[in-house]
Symmetry: C2
Subunit: 301 residues, 2 copies
Amino acid sequence: MNLSTRHMKAFSALAATRNFTRAAEFCNLTQSAFSALISNLESGLGVRLFSRNTRNVELTAEGEVFLEMVGHLLPEVERALAGMRDYVERRKGRIALAALPSIASSILPSLMARFLASYPGIELVVQDVSSTVCAELVRSRQVDFALCASTSVSAGLDSETLASDGFYFICPQDHPLARRKRLAVADVLPHPIVVYEQNSSIRQHLDASIYPRQWVRGFEVNSLSTAAGLVAAGLGVTVVPTLALFHFRIRGLRAIPLALPIDRRDICLIRRKDSTDSLAAQAFISLLREGFADAMRDLEP
Amino acid sequence: MNLSTRHMKAFSALAATRNFTRAAEFCNLTQSAFSALISNLESGLGVRLFSRNTRNVELTAEGEVFLEMVGHLLPEVERALAGMRDYVERRKGRIALAALPSIASSILPSLMARFLASYPGIELVVQDVSSTVCAELVRSRQVDFALCASTSVSAGLDSETLASDGFYFICPQDHPLARRKRLAVADVLPHPIVVYEQNSSIRQHLDASIYPRQWVRGFEVNSLSTAAGLVAAGLGVTVVPTLALFHFRIRGLRAIPLALPIDRRDICLIRRKDSTDSLAAQAFISLLREGFADAMRDLEP
DNA sequence: CACACTTACGATATTCGTAAGGATT
DNA sequence: AATCCTTACGAATATCGTAAGTGTG
């Protein structure tokens, strides 16, 4: 017996109406097709479910038993199918992603907000971790994808560059370099620089670009917004990548393009090579592509 | 979407094996037909459930969600179908019937025992009531059928005679009439008779056969076995129909055919005219037909 | 190149709707 | 006569299996 939702719907319609004609049109079937459907169900089960003499249709004893069963079963099946539809139409879902702190704290929140405005039912879980951890989380399926620097992306993962960061020197508007149009490393070295913690992608990029000893180390902070506060208070200068400029759009601060030996930092979307993204993830990823492209256009005109 | 048990079984087989070929043969299908079945399911739901590249088959995120659902759904559907099969194969069921006390206490118990030996899962509920109540219970669907006297069976009910009772005079073997081969009413009248309560079918039959005043009334009892005891103790004689002879097969008692004006009592099976009997009831009824016929053969050779 | 899934395609089976048949009130 | 379920039958659809195609390791 191959019981289907059609069978159950037809059965319950007939049990409710006790009339083949009306039940048939309720199921959008000809009366004859409907009759055949019911007979098919009955022969599949091996019992008459309805006793019918042209004038009266009523449930047999076994029909009553089946009605009880279908009364529980059909709503459950329909609830399950509706649940699937929720996923298909992205009313439900869960996206786990990893991102560098400099991304998670700058461009990502607004993109998440835009995404959630379109798909309010989807749960977004973000972990802000270093690039190597990003890759590890993707590989171990703990997240659906990650946004991180292109370095340390290893085999088995699929990488797609979403944005390419340049670097900027950030200083108060009354700083000696404040009027310059572009700067080189040599220009910056004399000034005490607010730097980020050791694991930070920005710090690692700077350390890789310039031998650490050459810097005049100022404060060491964890977050970009703290750095912004310090610089605004005249307590130092700093260097940040394009996407982090969000945090430095503060009155009294200047951002000047800075040429570094390792000139750019690529921001990549990394995914497992073989895996298929969930529909929710697909939707978010396409929003991210647009969002990053827009951000680059706005920040580096 | 018309989700069927085939779909769910195929899905779970594939989710378990992650291999189309093996899952297909598990479902007794060609690999190609199986593949089509899965595609059909996926297109019905509007999602890919498996990500497959010729070498690997695995669940997508939506597939995982569906697996969770099917994991609950499929066992429930199968439990329901197995439940129906229990009814069809008469491993489960419930038969409610009404019967005259003289039947319920004599021939019926052994027939019930035989029935339950074949169909141990079926619940039998017997009410021993008068013929008019029998008819009423059948009409109001409180019982599936009844076994009662043919009198007072009214319209809308289907009646089938299962047995025809004659009447017997019961006396101790040392009674003056004990050697007679057959008796008439006149023979019996002088002897004090153990009679049954007013509503009893036997009492009513006797009252209708012979004007009540003509009897020499002995004890009045409720049950046939009490009557048997009294007669065996020499405290009277009694008159009972054929089917009640069971109770009087006691050493020292004689049963002698008695000709009454209303000679026989027909025992009928009565059912609702339109209703369809449950499979369990059908099985019991056919056993009853045989059982009553056998009993008549044994008791009235 | 071997294995595993997909596609192509003709054959079979199912399901559909129209229309006629039969039973009940 | 009217209503309502069943049956008959040709058409449309779905499903099956064989066999060829395709891509991945």
